[in-house]
Structure formats: structure tokens, C-alpha cells
């Protein structure tokens, strides 16, 4: 069940109680994931790594991504 598809459901097809409950759970989970990320030590470690990489001079990368998007 895709919660964004539930949110996008038109008003003439109201959500069932089960769908309402599933959507509420997903919204809450997404919110708490985001809240946790802001204080997570793991994320803070990655922040420092990104900061270091952005500050470093660009290096030619032989495995760079292709110009065309590879959508799946």
C-alpha cells in the first residue's frame, strides 16, 4: 500500500478505515525517521564525511555516472 497514492486518492473514493490507519502509521513513521535523523550520530558522522568531501578539490572519477538518467 503506497501512502502517497492514498494521499492522492480523489475525494470521491474515500479511504477505508484500514487505509486511513495505514496512512496514519506511515505519516508518523516518516516524521519520526526525519526527527531521528536530525540527532542521529550515524547521520552526523556522514555529515562530517560529506563536508570533508565537498571541501576537497574535485578528482576525476573513472566510474562516474552516465549523463542519461537510469530510471527503473
Amino acid at each position: 500500500m503506497n501512502p502517497i497514492k492514498l494521499l492522492r486518492r480523489d475525494e470521491f473514493s474515500p479511504l477505508t478505515p484500514e487505509e486511513e490507519a495505514a496512512l496514519a502509521l506511515e505519516l508518523s513513521a516518516a516524521y519520526h525517521m526525519d526527527e531521528a535523523a536530525a540527532t542521529s550520530r550515524d547521520v552526523q558522522r556522514i555529515v562530517e564525511k560529506v563536508r570533508a568531501r565537498l571541501a576537497a578539490p574535485a578528482i576525476k572519477d573513472p566510474q562516474d555516472v552516465q549523463p542519461e538518467n537510469a530510471d527503473t
Binding site: 503506497n2 506511515e26 538518467n69
Partner: protein
């Protein structure tokens, strides 16, 4: 840190690197929102390229850091939303960064492997799809925060996101229960409206 407020939705801003000030200021926020799906993709790619082995947490942190740094420093200039989803582009970048790191981590193991096979992108798993959708939902909630009055968002946040009792919230805000229900309903209506943004639509196609 939130994204600086603009009239564009969050997903539109991520897809539009033309405003470099906003773009550069927002990489940390992007990392907070997308570290989970990128981590899931990185684990999946690692397993796919190593015959099912599990990566170390340090490997995954390095892969996520490289993807975000790449996305913000130069490769994002090549992202074109008319050619596909941000989600697909991030998966491709993550796979490329995992392959880079694998080559550095174990050059002898991979000396005999075919280049194309190593770089091949594994099919998207259910856990990847769920992680991307959860990040999109978090972005939608952040969009909502900037689009409705603060008090309305706070009431929505406490009732719908933190699961506090509507009666308790009504008492705390010194308003009636009916007003709490009305605020939550209005916020949900706005959230549904934001979810109909074409950029979100593009990201959720299965």
C-alpha cells in the same frame, strides 16, 4: 535546518539546481531526508556485487557520503528530471559509488570481474521502494510545514504525527475539540493537495 522557504515544493527544489544558494545550503537537509534510501540501495548493491556479503557500517557511511557529495558538487548538474525520476538517478549514482568503494576495498578480488557486470544496477527491492516513499512522505510533511499557519501545523503534528490525544491537545491550546478536528482536517486536505504535485507523481510511479 530546514530548506529556505520558497514557493516551490521541496521536491521541485531538489530537482532544480539553478538556484545554487538554496542548493548548497540544503545538502545537510537532503542527507537527513535521503540517507535511509541511499543506505538501503548501497547495501543492496554491495550484496549484489559480492555474492551476498554484508557491508560494514563504515562502508555504507562512505557510500552515502560520496553520493551526497557527488550530487551536490558536480553530478547533479547532469540530472534532468524530464528523463526520469530523482529516485532512479540516485540509485544509479549509489551503485556507481559502491562499485568505486568496492574496487578500493578489495582490488584483488575484483581484478577478474567483468567491468559491466560489476557496474550493473540491481533491480529495485521492496525495501528500497519503501525507503524512498518514506523519504518522500517526510518531504511532503516538511512542505506542509511551510504552507499552513504554524499553529495549524503544530496541532496536526501533535495529533497525526505524534499521536497525542485530540482532547489533550485541545486543552493544551485552550481551544475546543471541534477546532482541533477542523485544524487537522484542513492540514490533511492541504497535504493531499501537495501530494498531487506532478513532481511527486513522477517519483511514486511503480
Amino acid at each position: 535546518m530546514n530548506f529556505p522557504s520558497t514557493s516551490l515544493s521541496l521536491i521541485s527544489r531538489l530537482k532544480n539546481p539553478e538556484d545554487s544558494a538554496i542548493w548548497q545550503a540544503s545538502w545537510k537537509r537532503f542527507l537527513e531526508l535521503y540517507h535511509e534510501p541511499i543506505s538501503v540501495v548501497a547495501r543492496s548493491c554491495y550484496r549484489s556485487h559480492t555474492g551476498g556479503q554484508e557491508p560494514s557500517s563504515g562502508f555504507i557511511e562512505d557510500a552515502v557520503a560520496n553520493v551526497v557529495a557527488d550530487f551536490y558538487s558536480r553530478s547533479h548538474r547532469r540530472y534532468d528530471s524530464s528523463k526520469g525520476r530523482l529516485r532512479g538517478y540516485l540509485r544509479m549514482m549509489t551503485n556507481a559509488r559502491v562499485v568505486d568503494l568496492l574496487r578500493k576495498e578489495r582490488p584483488i578480488d575484483h581484478r577478474g570481474l567483468d567491468q559491466a557486470e560489476l557496474a550493473e544496477l540491481p533491480a529495485e527491492s521492496d525495501s528500497e521502494r519503501e525507503a524512498f516513499i518514506r523519504s518522500l512522505l517526510a518531504m511532503l510533511i516538511e512542505d506542509l510545514r511551510g504552507k499552513i499557519p504554524m499553529r495549524q501545523f503544530e496541532i496536526f503534528e501533535r495529533v497525526k504525527l505524534k499521536h497525542q490525544s485530540p482532547d489533550y491537545v485541545a486543552e493544551d491550546f485552550a481551544i475546543t475539540r471541534a477546532m482541533v478536528d477542523r485544524y487537522v482536517h484542513k492540514a490533511m486536505t492541504k497535504l493531499r493537495e501537495l501530494a498531487k504535485d506532478p513532481d511527486y507523481e513522477q517519483e511514486i510511479i511503480d
